[in-house]
Assembly symmetry: D3
Homo-oligomer: 132 residues x 6
């Protein structure tokens, strides 16, 4: 796979892009900048918005950080985003996901895809009981 745009390395980055890269490094306590940010640097404003949102949205809150990664993986699988599946599965492992948890996550994702397909094929009407 190749990107549709040049990946911007730190050395080649303009000041606004470098500022985001610096914040990513400081927040994550690593020099490593993954390719997503280097590609998104094609639009420095979007890079800034996305990183600022990610910091807030993925931080521990009412849901813990690992649960958020599970949800992220689930969406990325259903959306068929190869990069996102790899990066968030790696992130989940880095945040402590056990292999037993991963095995169950896979099973729930498989189950949900199956029933999503069945429900859609059968066009099942929503039960009154589920309405807010």
């Amino acid at each position: 796979m190749m990107a549709t745009t040049k990946l911007i390395e730190y050395a080649d980055a303009a000041a606004d892009v470098r500022a985001v890269y610096d914040d990513i490094r400081a927040t994550r306590k690593t020099e490593f900048i993954n390719n997503f940010w280097k590609a998104l640097a094609v639009n420095p404003q979007q890079l800034r918005r996305t990183w600022d949102a990610a910091k807030v949205v993925m931080a521990a809150g009412a849901l813990d950080v690992l649960t958020k990664e599970f949800v992220y993986i689930a969406v990325s699988v259903a959306n068929k985003c190869e990069y996102c599946i790899h990066s968030h599965t790696a992130a989940a492992r880095a945040k402590g996901m056990t292999e037993a948890q991963y095995a169950e996550l896979i099973a729930v994702i498989g189950m949900a895809h199956s029933t999503n397909g069945l429900v859609t094929a059968l066009q099942v009407p929503v039960d009154e009981a589920f309405k807010v």
Copy 2:
């Protein structure tokens, strides 16, 4: 919305379908059978397989039942399954999801959709660091 097949009520169900309905009622401790099962009864073997799998997959294990519902909702949203979104959001609330958790779940789902789209548009190559 209307189903593509007749919903099978308990009174009209054959023995193999009734056996599943009985197990759903006993397991969930309620008389209520939601429309998904009544539609899936068009194929009694598939009804049995799906229910048997659901009981195992959605039970507490390495992941708790609420985390599993979050994952289910996430997949169902990305797969655009209206019925599944309503039924699993209702299930999550029934299992204790707070409004604060729901608000964060929504934010993670929105974030994941956004970066899934950005990554796909830019065709970002997977970093070596993410490989198993």
Copy 3:
């Protein structure tokens, strides 16, 4: 549900649209024009192209007409097109689909969605043996 555009009835249709409607009626041996064509009439050229292609593509050939409807339903379910699911499930029944066939079709669709999700979650590499 409401369309994003006005449905064009025969009485209100321009000559190029009427010509397609006439051909639909003659080919299908019925006065009934379903809503898809009435909406697509917003672009008479697209209406003509789509109908001309449909006549050729959906006709009996190396695959029989019912097999083609099964494939159409399968794509429409995976693409979550409610209208298409209803219209092609009705078409399949009109062309002789039995309830036993429908029950198995549903099971294959459910199975495929499940393994599609599992394979994507696990990012399974394609076996050399499957290459042409």
Copy 4:
């Protein structure tokens, strides 16, 4: 492409996984185990459930085995599952799919995607005539 998990070879498999591999080999009359099962072995219960279901669902019944493969390919294309498209296209060829059949299958899949998109863009309301 690389998997998100280690592919489990027969020599390294636990007894419950080996039992499924043995059944796959006996059922298919070949030593070959394709990567899907080796990846799914991350969850031996899910491996067992999926294989047991596949044997029943994909067997000849009211629909013949080749028709089931056509439906599987159709779902996998619409769900963008590269592995599934390759494995089931290969399976269809192994089960006798001719190139003429494949050419028509491709045309139906293309047609369905086109009208799914048109219908969705126009939000066409379901005709009363299609209701069960």
Copy 5:
């Protein structure tokens, strides 16, 4: 259709939500607040982030506002988001989309869906010539 959460009306909104509603009204020069924002108010921070981003992203720039609406419609159709299709088709009309433009937009969307399906079914390898 019903939302999975209560729609927050202005009168019932907390200060942070009202501030966004006020900005929407001032920016759009209308009292009307559409349901998307009233539902998103379940998470006031997400409401704020989304509105702030929308103001920047959808404003005229290197692309004019109508072109941006066409792109928005195209994504929403492919993602099967009924609400989004209706709201952005209405927005495009409000911003001057002619029926001739709409007819061509529909044709391009139909064409893209068709070739997306064909390419995916055939697993066409990317030409070297397309690489950046």
Copy 6:
């Protein structure tokens, strides 16, 4: 990536396929035939229909050719068609897309994916005001 079918080169093509290749070359004023057409040649009639439609649909009309490419990219991203994203991003650049336009296109695509996900998760009901 490998195709599921042999790519048909000009030298090996039958007369009906060569006629389309000749027209592609004449229309585009280049000897280059990209892989999509070589794969689609598995079904010469579908090749002809698709090329004939593409010439009409993608030509300048009420929408200019670059706007049509933006829409094509948007659909292809949401449909996760890697080949289509690369070929139409290349086409857009060849037709004059600036990097500033590309940066904004990416932002709109990201925004649309985000709100599509949020709307779907929240099952927002369509406002009366958006109805035609």
